[in-house]
Structure formats: C-alpha cells, structure tokens
C-alpha cells in the first residue's frame, strides 16, 4: 500500500520581505509549506513502519521540478506532478481538480495526507475538496496516525478535547503542524533526490481540464503594526502603562 502526500510549492516565507505592506517576491526561492513538510514526515514514518512507497503529488510552476527534490530528499520515493508555468497561481478549486487527477494515477493508494493549510494563502480547502472529488472519507485536525490493518486510527486535537476516530482506508487525512518535527535531509539524500522516479505532466495533458478560477485576490497586505514607542523611566511607570493598555491587572 502506498501513501500519497500532496504538497504545495510556495515562496520561502523566511526569506520573504515586506515593503509598504506588500510581500516582495523577487528572488525569493520556492519551497514547500511548513505543514506540508509535517504531512510528508508523517507519511515517511508510516512507510518506515509498514512498508510501501511515499508518493508526492504536487501542482505548480515549472520550478516544481526542482522544488520536488526537497520532498524526495526528506523521504519521498517518487513523485507525480503537474509542472506548468500556467499553474503558478492556482486557486483551491483548480488545485483540487488537478491533484485529484494526479492521485488517481496511484494504483494502491491507502492514505492521502494533506497539510491543514498551505504556506502561502492557507485557504485550508484543498484536502476536503479532493476527498469529495475522489469520494473518499476525510478526517481533519489530525495529530496522530496509526495504521491498524485496513483501518486508520486517527487522533484529532480539538480546542477543548482530543478525539480518536477510526476510518477505513483509503481515506484523506488532513494533519496539523503539531504531529511531528520534520527530519533534516542528509547530504547524501539531497544528492539522490533528483534521481528518484518522477512523472511530469502539463496542463494540456490533464484528462479533464482544470476547473475555472473562481476566486480573485484583490489585495494581499501585511497587517499594519503601530508601535507605540512609549519611553518609560521606572518599573512603576511600566506597570502603570501596561494597566492602562489592559495587559495587566483589572478585569
């Protein structure tokens, strides 16, 4: 049984700079979203325990062919990707349609893992949409995955409680960042990454055309931060100001 992980290529947020509240994209390298790396780590751990292959599916601009090496170095065994410069800015509906078609190419797919939200726009829709398209059960907010025969036992961490659910495979599992600490790929894994099997298609080669874009981003601005720049001369003064601002004391 193979495990599929869907990963989204996003700008490396650590290297992103904000000017006039707008992100400056020039020269920012591409990588995978943080939670997608947790999803991959979960898949690799399961593979190490139960066997099978970890298949990474992804859709994005042509640089994906390079970015996918990160996933291969971190334990992915092969990849199926749509790499097309016309697919650099997909919305959730488009992504879901494409990913569902890519996942259908995996014959013995027991489990499909998604991160809860992508590193860039975090719409948090793609996993659910794909489950719907593939007519598979889905479980979200997952912090632990145990394979038990034909079933999955999943721990969901909710705001006030922890829920354990069981679901038959194949299923879509949507994980949060808390479930593991992704491994650091070793140098030799890095060098082997580019040699792992990959299938690459373009938008024209999709069996069914990708859904029409339904969403238009009008603006994408960093929140405004207004520093108060208050200078204080004593602890008493600090406490007084914190009280006035409502950070300490009072109700």
């Amino acid at each position: 049984m193979d495990i599929v992980v869907a990963m989204k290529q996003v700008p490396d947020l650590q290297q992103l700079r904000i000017r006039n509240r707008e992100p400056v994209m020039a020269d920012v390298p591409l990588t995978f979203g943080k939670i997608d790396k947790n999803a991959l780590e979960a898949a690799v751990l399961l593979k190490e325990e139960h066997g099978g292959e970890v298949v990474v599916v992804a859709a994005g601009s042509e640089e994906l062919e390079d970015t996918i090496k990160e996933a291969m170095a971190a334990g992915g065994d092969r990849s199926i990707m749509l790499a097309d410069d016309k697919a650099g800015d997909l919305d959730s509906a488009e992504s879901a349609e494409i990913l569902a078609q890519l996942i259908k190419q995996v014959d013995d797919c027991g489990l499909i893992i998604f991160g809860e939200g992508s590193g860039d726009n975090y719409s948090g829709q793609v996993g659910s949409r794909v489950a719907e398209k593939l007519d598979l059960p889905q479980v979200g907010s997952v912090t632990q995955i145990i394979i038990d025969g034909e079933k999955l036992r999943l721990t969901r961490s909710l705001e006030d409680s922890v829920e354990i659910v069981e679901v038959m495979m194949p299923a879509v599992v949507i994980v949060t960042a808390d479930l593991n600490e992704p491994r650091i790929p070793s140098v030799s894994q890095v060098l082997k990454a580019g040699r792992k099997p990959k299938e690459i298609i373009s938008l024209d080669e999709l069996e069914q055309p990708a859904a029409e874009k339904t969403l238009t981003t009008l603006s994408n601005l960093a929140p405004e931060v207004n520093r108060k720049r208050i200078t204080i001369k004593s602890v008493e003064e600090l406490v007084e100001i914190l009280k006035t601002e409502g950070f300490v004391g009072g109700n």
Binding site: K69, V187, S188, L191
Partner: protein
C-alpha cells in the same frame, strides 16, 4: 556566468543551516564554557553527512564536492567557530588521506571518519615552526618493518578524539618530509592538556608527544620525501574550511551589527536610520561580505578539479581565499563592534565572542604573510 546555487547546493546549505540552528545554536555557550564539543553533536552531524561532504561515497562520504562543503560549513560557522574548527581539521585530514593514501589505509581510516566515530587530525606545526618545513625536527627512524617516531607537535586540533591523524615527520636517513597515518591510541603517543586560547576553547588544541612511538612502515602515506605535497594539499583543504567558517563568522558579525543598528534608538530613531556614519559602516560590512563570498565560492568550486589535477593553482586559490576571508571576518566583526560601541564589549552581546574569535582567524592554517608568499610565487612562476 551564473551566480545562482543549484537546487542541490541550496538544499545542502539548508541542511547545514537547520542543523546549526536547531542543534548547534542551543549548545554554543555550553561548548565554550565546558571547553568541549559533545560527542553526540559530531554523531548528529555525521548522520546528516556533514562530516564528510567532499569524501567519496565508497568510503562513506557524501560526494558533494568542496563547493557543497564550503556552503555547509559557512552555515555552521555562523553559530560555532569551535565546532567548525573541529570539522575543518577533520575534513582536512580525511581529504589528505583520500588524495594520497593507498586503498588499505583509506579502508582503515575513512569509513569510521565519515561515520563520525573517529575525528581526524593533521599535524605539521612544531614548537619551532608552523610555516617552514625545513625547520621540522620530529623524526621517523626506520627499524625493520617499523618506524620509530620522536618529537613534539604543537597546536593540534582534534588530537584528543579517537581516530587517525596524518603527521609529517623528517625521515631520519634522508632528512626528507614524510607523512604517517597514526592511530591516536598508538603506544608512545601522548598529549598535553588542552591549551587555553583567547577564544574557540570548545575546539581543543593540544600538543602531541611522540616518544619512541612505533608504527608499521605500511602506515607511511606515499613515499619517503612526499610529505611536502601532503602538507601543501592538506592545508589547501584546511584553508577552504577555515575560510568557510570565517565567512559564517563574518555573516554573524553583519547580522549582529544590523540588529543593533536597527534597534538601538537615538532620540526615538534607530541609529542605523539616523546617522550616516552608521550607514557607511553598514555599506562597508555588506561590500566586504559580498566580495569575500564570491572569492571563496569560486575557490571552492575550482577546488573540485584543481585539488588533484593542478595542485599549484589549488594552493594559490586557497591561500588567496583564506587571506581575504579571514581578514574580512576580522574587519566586519570590528565594524560590528564599532556599531555597538561599549555594549559590544559586554559578555551579554554576541559580538564580544565573535570579536575574540575573529582575531584568531588570520593566524590559523599559516599566517597572512605565508598566504601572500604562496600567491606571489604562483604569479611570478608565470613571468619566468
């Protein structure tokens, strides 16, 4: 001319950066206070392939070239000069063995070195000299199938860790430089206590004593009289390593300088925004860092082919890079100190340690004058 890193190069850089940020950074103070690098840290680095980046896969290395090595060690150098120094001496030793030793010697020493079970050393310096091969006094005297080694080696990195070391002696009969591969557990070999230095005390430095130390003649690397080539190539590899972590040190100086310049306020405005004097220092740090980085990356890339095929050019490139980058580190950290002013002298500020470390850099792996002599001789050779 393409200045972009390949995906693999940037991933190697990222692997080293993550290791440095997650595993090294939290231990820096402990390493300096205890004068020791925890052995688990070497193990972790080895598991990631970071202790043998340029070594061939067949001996357990990663085969990622000296460019990959330099990119990785730069990242570790941003946090710990002590650990970087140990890795640099280890890779120097392994690289020298890989270039010159026979297969049996390589099988014996490279795989445990690549796995991090052994930490390798290379010893040339003596109390009398660290730059002049003619003044070596340690001797290797043949006795049947063995050599008897006598003498003192000074300032040797990694000498207390288990593993092998390449040591250059004068072969007694011929008076010629000759290198031996010696197990650091050999009988007749002992060390001093770690020497106290101005900084980088985590990276231990010891004196070595050879007192009728008996090693099989089969442990000789190459032939009698080839020690100078081992030295020349070995310190070439060493200079690439030092330059790499000096670049990391310079980057750390730049980062600490920028942090202070943008956070220290003068009447409500950060000093870096308010004062042109600080802005000039920022520009100077940036320019120096850029120049040093280009020189080093080029030397490292060329080292992949030249270290074996063109040793004279390799020696020149490494000497020039080391001279430029080690001084750059000292200059940038000096500017960073000036941006901090008195605060920089306080132990609470990172630049205090960086400054003590940066002072050391031009002196290690032969001093600046010697680098310039190597560079000048290489240029003058074309004018003969």
């Amino acid at each position: 001319m393409n200045f972009d890193l390949t995906k693999e190069q940037s991933m190697i850089q990222q692997t080293a950066r993550e290791f440095a940020e997650k595993s090294v950074a939290p231990l820096v103070e402990q390493i300096e206070a205890s004068h020791q690098i925890p052995l688990e840290l070497f193990k972790e680095a080895a598991d990631l392939g970071l202790l043998a980046i340029p070594l061939p896969e067949e001996y357990g290395g990663s085969d990622a070239g000296y460019d990959g090595y330099v990119l990785a060690l730069e990242q570790i150098g941003r946090f710990s000069a002590s650990l970087s120094m140990a890795i640099m001496a280890h890779v120097l030793g392994l690289s020298m063995i890989n270039t010159f030793a026979n297969d049996e010697q390589k099988q014996m020493s490279l795989p445990p070195g690549c796995r991090g079970e052994h930490i390798t050393s290379f010893a040339f310096t003596e109390p009398g000299t660290g730059s002049d091969p003619k003044q070596l006094t340690s001797t290797a005297r043949r006795e049947g199938d063995y050599y008897i080694l006598n003498g003192t080696k000074r300032f040797i990195t990694n000498a207390a860790y288990p593993g092998y070391m390449g040591v250059v002696f004068k072969e007694a009969e011929s008076g010629k430089l000759t290198t031996f591969l010696i197990d650091k557990k050999a009988e007749g070999y002992s060390t001093s206590e770690p020497l106290e230095k101005i900084a980088m005390n985590g990276g231990q430095l010891l004196d070595l004593y050879f007192n009728d130390c008996k090693v099989p003649a089969a442990n000789m690397i190459g032939q009698v009289g080839e020690g100078f080539y081992h030295l020349q190539a070995g310190i070439g590899y060493g200079k690439l390593g030092i330059s790499a972590f000096c670049l990391g040190l310079a980057q750390a100086g730049f980062d600490a300088g920028m942090e202070y310049a943008t956070q220290k306020m003068h009447r409500g405005t950060p000093i870096g925004v308010k004062f042109q004097a600080i802005q000039l220092m920022i520009a100077e740090m940036y320019e120096k860092l850029e120049a040093a980085r280009l020189v080093l990356y080029k030397a490292a890339t060329n080292a992949n082919k030249n270290s074996r095929n063109n040793p004279a050019v390799f020696a020149r490139d490494c000497a020039a890079a080391k001279d430029i980058v080690s001084h750059t580190a000292r200059e940038i950290v000096g500017i960073c100190m000036d941006i901090h002013s008195s605060y920089g002298l306080m132990k609470d500020y990172k630049v205090e340690r960086l400054y003590r470390e940066a002072v050391m850099m031009p002196q290690i792996e032969s001093p600046s004058h010697i680098q310039k002599i190597i560079v000048a001789n290489s240029i003058l050779a074309d004018y003969k």
